[in-house]
């Protein structure tokens, strides 16, 4: 919790509105003791892209796991202990030298919480949602992920119940690394598809 940016001396209108809603709900007995702290703690420390990185690293070192992951993402991800809201119907899409996958949600901000955590601000903001389905080649290059002109781009708009995870290509020169070391190389953006490793 970045309480350091919260200055009680200058409470913004939105903070006042949050406090008002919290007070009215609490008075009605609807906010269980410790609920806000607990749900916040889980998303700040337990649920995040470090989970997806473990899935990717396992797929890199274990071809049979990778097969299962691509055939039934939800079940294979559950093998590593990850699942829950916004992860009940997972599809994993694989990058290859000629094919690049990228995920977006144009209508809101659907995102695979159990493996990537809560989405970053830019994923939820209008420019990304508007442009990724119309000019992905341009936008990816702007975001530091230029692709060869002949690379096929597959954009996945998460408009129903499936949530997507990109399986990035294993970087060259990593044959000697352990699974845990490999997981350390996997970035959040490489699993969204806005970066290559």
């Amino acid at each position: 919790m970045s309480a350091g940016r919260h200055h009680p001396a200058a409470v913004s209108p939105v903070e006042q509105r949050v406090a008002a809603l919290e007070a009215l709900l609490t008075e009605r007995g609807l906010v269980p003791e410790g609920f806000i702290e607990e749900i916040t703690r889980r998303y700040e420390s337990e649920i995040g892209p470090m989970n997806g990185a473990k899935v990717v690293a396992r797929a890199w070192v274990d071809p049979r796991y990778k097969q299962r992951l691509l055939a039934d993402g939800t079940a294979a991800i559950a093998e590593l202990g990850f699942g829950g809201p916004e992860g009940d119907h997972m599809v994993v899409v694989e990058n290859t030298p000629g094919i690049h996958n990228v995920i977006v949600c144009t209508l809101c901000s659907c995102y695979p919480w159990p493996v990537l955590g809560l989405p970053p601000a830019w994923y939820k903001d209008p420019p990304y949602r508007a442009r990724m389905v119309r000019e992905p080649r341009t936008l990816l290059a702007e975001m530091g992920c230029p692709l060869p002109d002949d690379a096929e781009i597959r954009v996945w708009d998460s408009s129903a119940e499936v949530r997507y995870l990109v399986l990035p290509e294993r970087p060259p020169g990593t044959v000697d690394l352990t699974e845990a070391e490999l997981a350390g190389l996997v970035t959040r953006d490489s699993m969204i598809g806005t970066a290559r490793l």
């Binding site: 406090a19 008002a20 709900l25 916040t40 119309r134």
Partner: protein, 208 residues
């Protein structure tokens, strides 16, 4: 509804304010707002469709100028007022000022959902067309694919139709499909070698 949330393909937004890493919550109020939405949605038994629609009904200017967790706050307060947990006056009295809520639902509640659809009408490789139309309620059919032809690349299980569950207690389940569109078909300026996949409910689709 043809709301501001349906952003796919809209132009003029400029660059993405990308950062490779950031705190999960930039401010404490964001975490509280997020948790309060969970509280309200549980208390009023809001479906995912009703929740999303409560954000989609935000005044467009407010939607575009407020952050994601302000959307969640507005949704939570709107659902709390609409379901009678509290009044807008109470919220504004406590907040010491204006408390903008989302606009009204534009359609009557759905009474009859119709029978579940258990058997997919389409299979992988089938060509499909997305139905035209401008539903005034909630839908998960993005505007940019309506009327467009695509190819089914994956058949998923059956899921509750959002257009129905957003508007009352009736429910209908239908298969969903991942449908692949050629960006060159979707956009006059579509980029080459780009496939856009959109996940669509059975009733959004027809044979071309």
């Amino acid at each position: 509804m043809d709301g501001i949330h349906d952003l796919g393909g809209m132009q003029g937004f400029g660059g993405v304010g990308h950062s490779p890493a950031e705190p999960v919550f930039g401010h404490r109020w964001e975490a509280v707002a997020r948790a309060l939405l969970v509280v309200v949605a549980g208390a009023v038994k809001a479906s995912g469709g009703e929740f999303r629609h409560s954000i989609e009904r935000m005044e467009p200017g407010h939607y575009l100028t407020s952050s994601y967790y302000e959307h969640w706050l507005t949704a939570a307060a709107t659902l709390a007022v609409e379901h009678g947990l509290m009044t807008r006056s109470e919220l504004e009295a406590r907040a010491g000022g204006r408390f903008p809520l989302s606009g009204p639902v534009l359609v009557p509640p759905v009474i009859e959902a119709g029978p579940d659809v258990d058997t997919p009408r389409f299979g992988v490789g089938d060509r499909v067309r997305v139905r035209e139309g401008h539903p005034a309620g909630h839908t998960r059919c993005p505007g940019y694919v309506r009327g467009q032809n695509g190819t089914v690349v994956r058949v998923d299980g059956t899921h509750s139709v959002p257009d129905i569950e957003a508007h009352g207690t009736a429910r209908r389940r239908e298969p969903t499909y991942s449908v692949r569109f050629d960006a060159a078909d979707l956009w006059r300026d579509g980029q080459r070698g780009v496939w856009v996949h959109v996940d669509l409910w059975d009733s959004y689709l027809e044979r071309p």
